[in-house]
C-alpha cells in the first residue's frame, strides 16, 4: 500500500486518527511519519497557527494520532524475555513490556519502531545521577587528554607526564565505581 501523504513510498505505519468521533486509519511511510515528528524541532508553530486567524474556515475535525506499527502479515518472532517470561507476541498484543530486560531481549524488534516514531532513536535528555557522575569523569578525561596533546605538541614532556598520570588515576577511579 502506498503512503497516503506522499502517494509515493510504501506505507509502513497505520496511524489511527479520530475525525469527528470516527476512527480513521491513515497509512504513512517512514519518511512522512518522521517528517510529522521532526517538525517539532523546527518550532514552526507560530507561522502555521497564524494561518488559523486569517483562515477561519470550517474545521478539519479532531485528529488524535495514536502511533502504532502496522501488524506485518508474516509470523511474529518467537522470542521470550529470559528475565520475566514475557513473549514478543504478548508484547505486541498488550503494547506493554514485561520488565526492563525486555528492551534487551526484543532490542532488534523494537529498534526500527522506535527509530521511525522518534526520528533518531538516541536519548537526548537527563541521565540518572550515577551516569551523570560518569559523564563528568569522561568530560574531565577528555579535557586532560586535550591538554596532554597540547603539552606534547609544545614538547613540554614533564607536564604531559603529569597529565597522563592524572588520566590514569581518573580511569582507575571510574573502574572502581563500576
Amino acid at each position: 500500500m502506498l503512503c497516503e501523504e506522499c502517494n509515493n513510498r510504501e506505507a509502513r505505519f497505520a496511524v489511527t486518527m479520530n475525525v469527528n468521533g470516527e476512527s480513521v486509519v491513515r497509512h504513512l511511510c517512514p519518511e512522512c511519519m518522521r517528517a510529522m515528528n521532526a517538525n517539532m524541532r523546527g518550532g514552526n508553530i507560530a507561522g502555521v497557527l497564524s494561518a488559523i486567524l486569517s483562515a477561519i474556515t470550517a474545521g478539519e475535525g479532531m485528529r488524535r494520532p495514536e502511533m502504532r506499527e502496522k501488524e506485518p502479515a508474516e509470523q511474529l518472532p518467537d522470542i521470550t524475555c529470559q528475565r520475566c517470561g514475557t513473549t514478543y507476541v504478548q508484547f505486541r498484543k498488550s503494547g506493554r513490556l514485561g520488565c526492563p530486560g525486555c528492551y534487551e531481549a526484543f532490542r532488534e524488534q523494537l529498534r526500527p519502531m522506535l527509530q521511525q516514531v522518534s526520528g533518531g532513536a538516541q536519548h537526548a535528555g537527563r541521565r540518572p545521577l550515577e551516569t551523570l557522575e560518569a559523564q563528568r569523569t569522561r568530560s574531565r578525561q577528555e579535557e586532560l587528554t586535550r591538554l596532554m596533546q597540547q603539552a606534547v605538541a609544545l614538547e613540554d614532556f614533564e607536564t604531559a607526564a603529569l597529565l597522563r598520570d592524572q588520566i590514569h588515576a581518573l580511569a582507575e577511579e571510574g573502574g572502581a565505581d563500576a
Binding site: 494520532p65 513490556l97 528492551y103 538516541q122 535528555g125 551516569t131
Partner: protein, 331 residues
C-alpha cells in the same frame, strides 16, 4: 506576558526500578515500589511535607476526589496495593505501582512548565541518590510502554479556549499540534467532547529530544493558542458585542439563580462566564473561577458537604457551591 487561557501546567516523569517487572499487579511488585520509594525519600531527607497514602487505606470518595484534582490517576486509584506520596497543597505527587513503577507529577498555576519540571526533577534527584532506575544509554529511561522511553516525560497544559472552539478551529489546532509532535484534545467528557472548552496540550514524543526542548515546544504552542484566543476575543467584542454579552450575561444569570445544576450544563455555562471574566464583563476575576470545574465534581461536593450525596442532591449541591464561590469572588 500574561496568558489567561492557560489554566495550569503539569509535568509527569515515568521511572522504573531496573530489578522489578513492570506489571504492578504481579504479587509483591507494588508493595516493593512503595516501600523502596518511601525509604529512599526518607533517607534523602526530602520527605518533609509528603504524606504516604495507600489506595487500600483510602475511602472511595477520597480516592475519587484525588482523581478529580488530578493528584492521582484513575488507574492508580483502582489498584489497592498501590500508593501515593503526596504534597497536596503543592500539588506534587509520586504515584507508586502505576503502569510504570513511579510517576512523579507536579501541577503548577498558569504557564509554568519549567517550574513544574524543576519540582519533579528535585524529587527524582533525591530518590536517585538511593535507588537505581532502569536506564539505557541509547533509549534513556525504560518504561512499560516503549513509546514513553527516553525522557519518560509528559509536559501538558490545561487551556480554556472558548473562542477557538466557537469558531470550530480545534480540529485544525489538533492537526497542527500533531504535525509538531504534540497532542491537543478535549479534557473533560467522553470521546471527542471538550466540556467547558477545556483542552489539554501535551507532547507525544519522549525519545530523541531533551526535556528543555519538549517544554519549549509545548510552551510555544500554549503561547500561540493563548494569543490567537485573545485576538478572537477582541474581534468578538468589536464585531458581535451584543451577542457575546448576551451569552455571557445569560450564563451569569443561570449560574447565580439555578437550584439544580447538572455537571454538563455547568461546564457550558462556566465556559461562557470565564470568557466574560477574561473580557472584564463580569465582576469576578478569571482566576477565581479556575478551581470550579474540579470543586463541583461529585467526590468534591460530597467531601465539601460531608454527605453521601447522589442524583438531584448532587445537582443542588453543585448550584449552591457555584453560587458561594462566585459570591466570594465578587469584586
Amino acid at each position: 506576558m500574561n496568558h489567561p487561557a492557560v489554566l495550569s501546567s503539569r509535568v509527569r516523569l515515568a521511572r522504573n526500578y531496573e530489578d522489578l517487572p513492570f506489571d504492578a499487579h504481579r504479587p509483591g511488585v507494588a508493595e516493593t515500589c512503595v516501600s523502596r520509594t518511601a525509604n529512599a525519600l526518607a533517607l534523602s531527607g526530602e520527605d518533609r511535607g509528603f504524606a504516604l497514602l495507600t489506595m487500600a487505606s483510602l475511602g472511595e470518595d477520597r480516592r475519587d476526589a484525588l482523581v478529580e484534582s488530578r493528584m492521582i490517576s484513575r488507574e492508580l486509584a483502582a489498584s489497592p496495593d498501590s500508593a501515593v506520596l503526596l504534597q497536596e497543597d503543592d500539588r506534587l505527587s509520586v504515584m507508586m505501582g502505576e503502569e510504570d513503577h513511579l510517576r512523579i507529577q507536579a501541577i503548577t498555576d498558569g504557564l509554568s512548565l519549567d517550574e513544574a519540571a524543576a519540582r519533579c526533577f528535585a524529587v527524582e534527584d533525591a530518590l536517585s541518590r538511593h535507588v537505581r532506575f532502569a536506564f539505557d544509554d541509547q533509549l534513556g529511561y525504560l518504561t512499560a510502554c516503549p513509546t514513553d522511553t527516553g525522557t519518560g516525560m509528559r509536559a501538558s497544559l490545561l487551556m480554556h479556549l472558548p473562542m477557538l472552539a466557537h469558531h470550530k478551529q480545534m480540529g485544525s489546532v489538533s492537526s497542527i499540534a500533531a504535525k509538531v509532535g504534540l497532542n491537543a484534545r478535549g479534557y473533560y467528557g467522553e470521546g471527542n467532547e471538550a466540556l467547558g472548552d477545556i483542552y489539554q496540550i501535551s507532547n507525544q514524543i519522549t525519545l530523541g529530544r531533551t526535556e528543555a526542548e519538549v517544554i519549549a515546544t509545548v510552551t510555544a504552542l500554549g503561547e500561540q493558542l493563548s494569543e490567537t484566543e485573545a485576538e478572537l476575543r477582541r474581534n468578538a467584542l468589536a464585531e458581535r458585542r451584543t451577542a457575546t454579552e448576551d451569552k455571557i450575561f445569560r450564563a451569569w444569570g443561570i449560574l447565580m439563580n439555578a437550584r439544580l445544576l447538572p455537571l454538563k450544563e455547568f461546564y457550558s455555562l462556566w465556559s461562557a462566564l470565564r470568557l466574560g471574566a477574561v473580557l472584564g464583563l463580569v465582576p469576578v476575576s478569571p482566576e477565581s473561577l479556575d478551581s470550579l470545574p474540579v470543586e463541583v465534581q461529585d467526590a468534591h461536593l460530597r467531601a465539601y458537604n460531608e454527605k453521601p450525596l447522589t442524583g438531584e442532591d448532587l445537582d443542588a449541591a453543585r448550584a449552591a457551591r457555584v453560587q458561594s464561590v462566585i459570591r466570594a469572588a465578587k469584586r
